[in-house]
Amino acid sequence: MQWNTMFSQLAGGMLVSTQIFVVTLVFSLPLGLLISFGRMSKNRVIQGIVKAYISVMRGTPLMLQLMVVYFGPYYLFKIKIGNGYRLWAAFIGFIINYAAYFAEIYRSGIQSMPAGQYEAAKILGYSKPQTFFKIILPQVMKRILPSITNEVITLVKDTSLAFSISVLEMFAIAKALASSQTSLMPFVAAGVFYYVFNLIVAVAMEYIEKRLSYYQ
């Protein structure tokens, strides 16, 4: 098999991996913020439910969660699942898993904000939403950026877990190529792809961090 066929196949898989990556980030970052509100809620019922959810998401393997999301509808509700559901299951599984992690990161950032910032905002007459979105959240984002970067880099590599529900992302393709050609090369090439992807992510996050370093 020629090199460029292998690369073009892997690149096709990369497209799916990137899709999972982007969709997961776009939805889990805001969802995580919402969940962190629930986690910090004074309502004990809401707080308890959210706590349990985060505990399960962090306490069980992501691969297992993907399986449950994919096969669950059939085994639990006898809903017939088509082939098209695979990618959707991957999206849903990744989003609810990463939202849980992001929620805890948001919470740590929000709770680390000094009370004086809230007090100053209150005295100046800012409403609660204004206080949160104008004063608190921008500072929280700066504080939690290093932790977010960590998660985002892990996410790049975690997209390979989608192969467990037979989503044809890059890792699944590399594995298929490797066994059909009895060669290690597809894995090496896939490794290079993941590495370069993460290099780009790291550079992008560093750029954002720099942009936010105009104050300390």
């Binding site: 910032q117 007090e119 500072q139 104050y215 300390q216």
Partner: protein, 255 residues
């Protein structure tokens, strides 16, 4: 009409009674200093007045409008949020540790609340903010960020930020306690210069000479009560044993 009236205010944290039945009023343009040993409840009194802390009982009135009062069941009731926001516009507070917004430039720290809270015109707010910064001697720092300023400069920005909302009464909670003597001097000078603005000021401070010079009235607090209150020359020359022991050498010097 008094700008601020506090009647029989009590506040405790757990078993600790921090404020035991304090009443005080502040008239228009009046400058009142609150002095007393650490832990005497001075800051808590300010925090109750500015509603950062809720009273356990008592009454809080701004310009005749009740902000908080003791209900029939003995619990304190506060006015509805909408009314409180109106009442809140009457006062500002300068904190001991400034509490500037670090992600806003100096200018934005001063002009953002007028724009987003009072919905004032952006250009007009910018002009007012620049004038205030000039008054504080900080016109050249408008584009700087708080982390680039000294403590004294930060506190002056905080004062400009409070003034930008046109309060009728301005509270200072130990405005110079986080500063060294040199920076303390520049902040006190600025506060003194506000006296001609005819804004009422309530200043919790440990700077005795400053309190004596600037105040129309001095309140000496200890153990959660007002021990003595009066013109500066009266309080600083008091024969009251508790006042004497607090002022110590200072009392002798200022006599």
């Amino acid at each position: 009409m008094n700008l601020l009236e506090m009647k029989n205010v009590k506040k405790s944290f757990g078993d600790l009674d921090v404020i035991k039945d304090i009443s005080l009023s502040v008239g228009e343009g009046e400058i009142v200093s609150v002095i007393g040993p650490s832990g005497s409840g001075k800051s808590t009194l300010l925090r109750c007045a500015t509603m950062l802390e809720t009273m356990d009982s008592g009454e809080l009135i701004y310009l005749g409008q009740k902000a908080g009062w003791t209900g029939a069941d003995g619990k304190v009731v506060y006015a509805p949020t909408k009314e409180l926001r109106k009442i809140q516009e009457n006062y500002g507070l300068v904190f001991q540790n400034f509490n500037l917004f670090p992600h806003f430039s100096v200018l934005k720290n001063v002009m953002d609340a007028p724009i987003s809270v009072q919905k004032r015109d952006k250009e007009e707010a910018r002009k007012t903010a620049m004038e205030l910064l000039k008054k504080m001697g900080l016109a050249d720092k408008a584009d700087a960020y708080p982390c680039q300023l000294s403590g004294g400069q930060c506190q002056r920005v905080a004062i400009a930020r409070a003034l930008a909302l046109n309060p009728k009464i301005l509270f200072f909670d130990e405005p110079t306690s986080a500063l060294d003597p040199e920076l303390t001097g520049e902040v006190l000078k600025v506060i003194k210069s506000l006296a001609d603005l005819h804004i009422a000021m309530v200043i919790v401070t440990h700077e005795m000479a400053f309190a004596r010079d600037i105040s129309d009235r001095v309140i000496f607090m200890a153990g959660g009560v007002i021990v003595e209150e009066g013109k500066p020359e009266q309080v600083f020359a008091s024969d009251n044993e508790r006042t004497r022991s607090f002022l110590g050498r200072y009392g002798e010097m200022l006599k």
